[in-house]
Symmetry: C2
Subunit: 418 residues, 2 copies
């Protein structure tokens, strides 16, 4: 098989799908999403039986239990997938919104109208639910998808895509709107990444290795998410009780997420009062602590942090603790070791709160709130296709608006260029 | 010399400059821009003498007169460059604007704040004025630049950069804010394009060859501008006089620009009335016409258009003319042959005007106005660093806002993730 030609043909199908979707009304798109949800539930048995093939193959290949669990589809997970589609149907349609409109001295009215991006390539790993989740968000925003899931889930993904395409067709939407690269060859990804001019955007979802490979090889713009090395800075004017609750929540509530705190920075003016109770609470919750020399001076019963620890995204119950001279010292640390993801200050000092908000350069900067709140649902975007650590196009949680672009529109009455 | 290390060191200087600029107030940035303008004028002799070296070398190398003209700096051009800096100083500062702010059910306030992108790499060709123009826009939006101009202009560019850096330093801005790759090696560009993580955005300015090379080799997001194959569609319900003026302006007012019309599409319901006078006016103005068979049927005295002509960006007094069945036919033509740059409809029919506006997928879609109006100044953006034909981050004319991104800010009172 000529993989280059195969991928090119798929991309052209998706482009046709995108043209069809761009003209679909909100009502048509919503009806399709709701019927896709119903079809996934109706055909759950088919999905489970295709999924079994993937699981058996994964077991033979000796994949880990965690991997196999991520791969597994059962009735509950299919219901959740379907529920996700229904929820996306209920969100407002971003397409057609005129975000701004103004009049020029020559009498013409100029505006910006939100329109679909076009064709979005989604490259992801084992979880088959991404197939339905990512498709629903892209479709709602009027974009066609080219899906390229992990080879371990190829039978499950093919089955999900088959169902979504059947519904699209029945609802008068060109099936190319949901296009699937159903061959496992790695070369297919490389070919896809060269199709600038047909594919408008690539969103990789998965581990750092996948994301680096995609970024290094893509001629198409990529919206990506690298690691989250997040900080909470406890200022000398913090309310100690609030600071304790925020730091505890940021580390412990779900440590495996990108917006969990990895390093707690404490102003030396409050360290003596704050650290003993805080670190005891962490220890009692099973958090392994790594402290700077000043921290171990105050609370000796923990390990010493090494310089490289401050670069780490633990994604686990492990925390670096560092006493800093003041907020400038804390901001220098964040600029040097942070990943510009989510950083929070706890303080009652107005001036420092405003400076921290302005000067820290992260996708979300918070005052007196847990870093765990940096999330599309928590922020009220209604949905999330990921958190961008890029600065171009989208930064932070990406909802439906981030899956659109704007074009200029001009309402004239015969205006010419002088 | 180790070019890789050299470019890396330059990029790190720029990153320091970006940190310094991000914290600079609007007043500080504006003062620097105004003083830079004054310094360029004060040191005009130095600029002209450095520019002479480039011109002599270009003459020896046998560059064309047009190229040498583009390269030349004289008092008038230096004054224009300086005037450009003063105008940018007068524009509103986009940094710090809070574009939206809302309250969440848990009481926290979430907003989006406009912030600089960081370090922007500008890769350009012969014109030395780009050095000052691009720098001024990036600086105003709080970004450091790494400049990489054409090797033909290296002495002129080095002299301009030297002046800008002297002023930056005197105004308390880290000189890295204006960083210049002052070696002519091509490898330097390739190394720069690998520095994702330090350089945040690349803007190439120049011919299609340059832009393709940059896009194919960059790991950093690129904002680019490919060709403009622009259309005016004269609907059957157009006012013929208005249509004639708009089409004439779109083709003739400045044919060498990307937003000039390359193909005129005419509804068959108006072709017989409209074409004879229109085509005569074009002929009288020296426009070479290429018509479809229906056009030559109505107006025989012109050449026949070949299929490939409809893909051409002539940038000259040459025009394709095609009679179409209706607006859908016209929109299909635009989707197939256009470059999604600027497309206009001339009509008094409300329904078709609204459909054309929604359904044509171009950076600017105009009703009853010349395509030549797709321009940052004409649209009221106050400045323009280029017109993006991309869909990611910026589409259409790019002003100061497009040189920023937004971060999420959260004003909390102890909110935790449940």
């Amino acid at each position: 098989m000529d993989i280059k030609q195969f991928v090119l043909a798929k991309a052209k199908e998706a482009k046709e799908g995108a043209r069809s979707l761009a003209r679909a009304s909100s009502g048509q798109k919503n009806a399709a999403l709701v019927k896709m949800a119903a079809a996934l539930k109706d055909r759950a048995e088919e999905l489970v039986s295709e999924n079994k093939k993937d699981i058996e193959y994964a077991a033979k290949k000796g994949l880990s239990k965690a991997m196999i669990d991520r791969l597994t589809l059962n009735e509950k997970r299919i219901d959740e997938m379907a529920q996700g589609l229904v929820e996306v149907a209920q969100l407002p349609d971003p397409v057609g919104e005129i975000t701004k409109m103004w009049r020029r001295p020559n009498g013409m009215t100029v505006g910006r109208m939100r329109v679909p991006i076009g064709v979005i390539g989604i490259i992801y790993e084992a979880r088959p639910n991404v197939t339905a989740d990512a498709t629903s968000l892209c479709l709602k925003a009027g974009n066609a998808v080219i899906l390229r899931g992990g080879s371990e889930a190829i039978n499950s993904n093919r089955a999900i895509v088959g169902i979504l395409r059947d519904v699209a067709k029945a609802e008068g939407i060109n099936e190319g709107a949901v296009t699937f690269i159903d061959i496992p060859d790695r070369e297919a990804v490389m070919e896809m990444l060269k199709l600038d001019g047909i594919v408008d955007l690539i969103i990789p979802r998965g581990g750092e290795g996948l994301i680096r490979t995609v970024t290094e090889n893509s001629r198409i713009p990529v919206l990506k998410h690298y690691k989250g090395v997040c900080h909470v800075f406890v200022d000398r004017d913090a309310d100690p009780g609030m600071a304790e609750d925020i730091c505890f929540n940021a580390k412990v509530q779900r440590p495996g997420t990108c917006n969990a705190m990895e390093t707690m920075l404490v102003d030396e003016g409050i360290a003596g009062v704050f650290l003993p109770a805080m670190l005891k609470r962490f220890k009692d919750a099973g958090v392994a602590l790594k402290g700077c020399p000043k921290t171990t001076g105050i609370y000796p019963d923990i390990n010493e942090a090494k310089e490289e620890d401050f670069h780490n995204e633990y994604l686990d119950l492990v925390l670096n603790v560092k006493v800093v001279k003041n907020m400038d010292d804390a901001m220098d640390h964040i600029a040097k070791y942070g990943s510009a993801h989510s950083d929070s200050i706890v303080t009652m000092n107005y001036d420092r709160a405003m400076r921290f908000l302005r000067e820290v350069d992260s996708s979300a900067v918070l005052v007196n709130a847990s870093t765990r709140l940096n999330d599309g649902f928590q922020f009220g975007l209604g949905a999330e296709i990921g958190i961008s650590t890029d600065k171009i196009h989208a930064r932070g949680p990406m909802g439906l608006e981030e899956l659109t672009c704007t074009k200029f529109i001009v309402l004239g009455s015969g205006q010419l260029r002088e």
